[in-house]
Amino acid sequence: MENNVSELMQGFAIALTLPHLGLMVVGVLIGILVGVLPGLGAPNGVSLLLPLTFGMQPVSAIILLSSMYWGALFGGSVTSILFNIPGEPSSVATTFDGYPMARDGRATTALATAFGSAAFGALSGVVLITLLASWVASVALQFGPAEYFAVYFLAFSSFIGMGGARPSKTVVSLAIGFALAAVGIDTVSGNVRLTMGVDELVKGVSFVVAVMGLFGIGELMIAVEDEMKVKGVNSKVEWREVVRTIVHLPRHGWALLRSAAIGCWMGITPGGPTAASFMSYAIARRVSPRRDNFGRGEQEGIIAPETADHAAGTSALLPMLSLGIPGSATAAVMMGGLMIWGLNPGPMLFIEQKDFVWGLIASMYLGNVVSLVLVLLTVPIFAAMMRVPFFIIAPLIFIVITVGAYSVSNSYLDVLLMMGFGVLGFLFKKLDYPVAPLVLAMVIGDKAEDAFRQSMLLSNGSLGIFFSNGLVSTVMALGFAFLLLPLIARLWSRRRTALGRA
């Protein structure tokens, strides 16, 4: 434990330099912009910035990208509260009570509550990472390929079991991601596969391009559907009210702790911030003493989703760093970035790239403080930006995404692929297919496959290796249990309704 503290101090020494603080400010500001603009979200915002980081030091690059992520998480709440338009999918639940509260003339209180609980959620996530990440990594160092495959399997099946979408839709989304990850040269045998006769596809399909289409174009098309009429409320921030609200937040200590716990859990198991915020809001509405007030501007109705959203967003980086399994779509994009910068996400990072890991963790403390300050200072500016009509913003965002897709590898084919992914993203969103599993599978599909094939080589083709010791069998069994979860839940509810009728 003392070891962690001294490593963390070392990290602060790296993160607290002028260039890195500058990158944090830039990242957070771009992030807030991305979070505020509908149609641009954290995952595709990070992918747009990714090609520009190729020449940077990995620590600097990850500080820029992660700061952008924090900014986006904060920015998404601003529009939810002031305009009833969630800037991010994960801040949808914030509109339920945030907007009614702002409409009643308490915009400052609503914003301060959101930012205060968001900061608390993020802080719990970072503390969790500080305490647990290196321990998880040291356990994972003992893993062989079979254990790795079992952990990947667990991650994928928890999507199917706990994602909340129809399991057949999650399976399709996941498997498409796997297939896309396989396109190009097979790293084990050197064979070319799944290029469907297109020579340029030998280099593979970039997940960055997929994210830009799925999230960017898909969201634009959803946003344009109901031509948004921005009915903003007064966005002036009264500083005295901000201080008063944040000082009084600990009164809701129980709600804060519960929401942070939900968020951390959903972030570590790949449930992601969106599911976390909804789940936290639903639980708060059920157990809060002020539950009757929910939906009409109740403060706890803002605390619950905001704390969970940020706790999940932050703790999603824990499995990414220590196991190489990202806990959210944005974390998946960042992990892809790590691989492009030449790092190998997973336990070896904690040994070979100590400065990188602890610099990042320290920057997470700082980045969230920077975000909190900047978002409070810039609320009026970004609120004014929302008054620019959507029909002007939409083609501009479209051009930015097109240029972004092209610049990934200077390829026009990527632009065409991005358009295809855009149509798919629109259909998926309309029909409640989850998109995050596709991205996750694209990023770690190759690693899961490698782990599987190495295990099979070790066991000479016997699947028994996945049940050869206590650890690997337990993880595999947990994975199968998650797969069966939707089935069990359905049987259970059927039995309950049957009992209720009897």
Partner: protein, 155 residues
Amino acid sequence: MVTRRQFEILTGLITGAFGIAVIVSSIQVGSGWSSAGVESGTFPLLAGVLILGGSIVNLARAFVDPPALALRADELRRVALLFLPALAFVAAIPFAGLYVASVFYLLWALSVQRRMPYWRSGLIALVTVLTLYWLFEQAFEVELPHGWLGAALGF
């Protein structure tokens, strides 16, 4: 007007077709166990089977689920009005280059579709193109496509 069922069927057919393509392609590469270990087509084959199986389930469910509306006629129109010009913009890039295509796309989207005065849309287009040029070709040294037109003019 588009119903949810029509959308479900369209999506199921797209994903199903992709699944079949993946299966065929993986069988061509070879899948299963060989002396060199697991063959390269095995994992993709599994993915393809899962895609196809899931798509069949989704297609079947589309017929069972109660009918619902996915897009009203006016919503469909708005989506088309966003998407079709965007598609034309992307299609024009190899010929006109990114910069020229962007200018025409913005003029079209703002002034033809939304009746914005041309001097304003022109200004927006100019600022956009100059920003892109400065950010990519100057600051980050990434050459954006100049297209057939650019080549003809000697850029």
